[in-house]
Amino acid sequence: MIEVKNVHKSFGDAHILKGISTSFEKGKTSLVIGQSGSGKTVFLKCLLGLFQPEEGSISYDGKIYSELDANQKRELRSEMGMVFQGSALFDSMTIMENVMFPLRMFTKQSKSEMEDRANFVLKRVKLEDAHNKMPSEASGGMQKRVAIARAIVNKPKYLFCDEPNSGLDPKTAIVIDNLIQEITEEYNITTIINSHDMNSVMEIGEKIVFLKDGLKAWEGSKENIFKTDNEVVTDFVYSSELFKKVRQMYLEERQ
């Protein structure tokens, strides 16, 4: 479980995060949504420990990040998996080497043990035949699945995804969403996804945190988002005619 208390972050005069408090539960897929410039990426980077908040605290299963020493921080980081927007695969390595990378860096496993584990996760993301391909030879959807495989290979406790669906067709996007949700439940990890994609919100958002201008404007589940009359949220989530109709149908059904 990740608990965020009153987190503030500024860059020069720009006050990006203005006191965000929330929590993300284990075994659940949480989404952080909001318009561009709302502070989502800065918030995610604070959660990852890449940015230090000026005020407030972030705790990971009771361990407050700012109170840890360098070794403890490093250990905690090795328990995190991250799926980047552009996949961020190491382009000088094959897909297999990319997936084995965290194991090579952080474990003392033998080569065959590492290969077994990498094969297992590649099979889990349905990429068992792509071992020797280079990332440049893989499609966008495949690269995302490799990034997920790399993120989970070292059995992380926390999984962070920055817009995992960006640049993917709707069908592949749903595959990636479902894969992340399945993995979250299967390995009982705390998953946080930064997203713009309303399909993801409706599909896998067990908890949704809506950010606006560096503040938490709303939080709830995907069921609550249909019912909310918070105008800031409805303006953003139901900005398309399609989603407006979906919501209308949902509300009519409920009545």
Partner: protein, 245 residues
Amino acid sequence: MKYLHNIGAYFIMIKDMFRKPTKWSVMKTLIFKDIDDLIIGSLGIVAFISFFVGGVVTIQTALNITSPIIPKYLVGFATRQSIILEFAPTFISIIMAGKVGSFITSSIGTMRVTEQIDALEVMGINAINYLVFPKFIALMLYPFVISIAMFLGIIGGMAACVYGGFSTLDDYITGVQLDFIPFHITYAFIKTIVFAFVLATIPSFHGYFMKGGALEVGKASTTAFVWTSVVIILLNYVLTQLLLS
């Protein structure tokens, strides 16, 4: 102010390069890969340039010696001195700033643009140690490249001298052996080691701290080449003053 900030950031990067080392089994692979990319991969162009520039130095020296009082073996002597003292360590380093430096900046810069460096940092890896340290170690073999440049420069000079009819082989060899001061080799290798450090770290700095996209990677490579060359030229002057005067 920006220059001061960059100089400070550069020295902090140097300090971070030695902190929190990457696992040896991984580092070993990276070092061998960088030796292949930076040292072995440069041998061809260094050999080609050294051989022909050695020849040009010899021809120009021979053509400028018009007085019959000056002995012909001076061509070999002048070629040796030019190549050992200046051409091999400094001129080749400027060429390497273009070849190796832009490779280092663009490869690290592309990793920055495509979030690969962020991925390393998120995993808790010291990205500076992971990326820069193997290049620094690989370039400690740079004196080997310079030795080859010295040898081929002198051989190129000999070929041009003999086949161009500027003097005899015996005269050229006599000139090459004349008044040889072993400290000149030490001086050349001291410069080479210093330039190797510059070649590894300045382009890495420009790649690591670049911001933007593909266009900025290109700009960073150009900036890295300019600054690496400037620093090499300045250090060349300082080291020559310190070691030879």
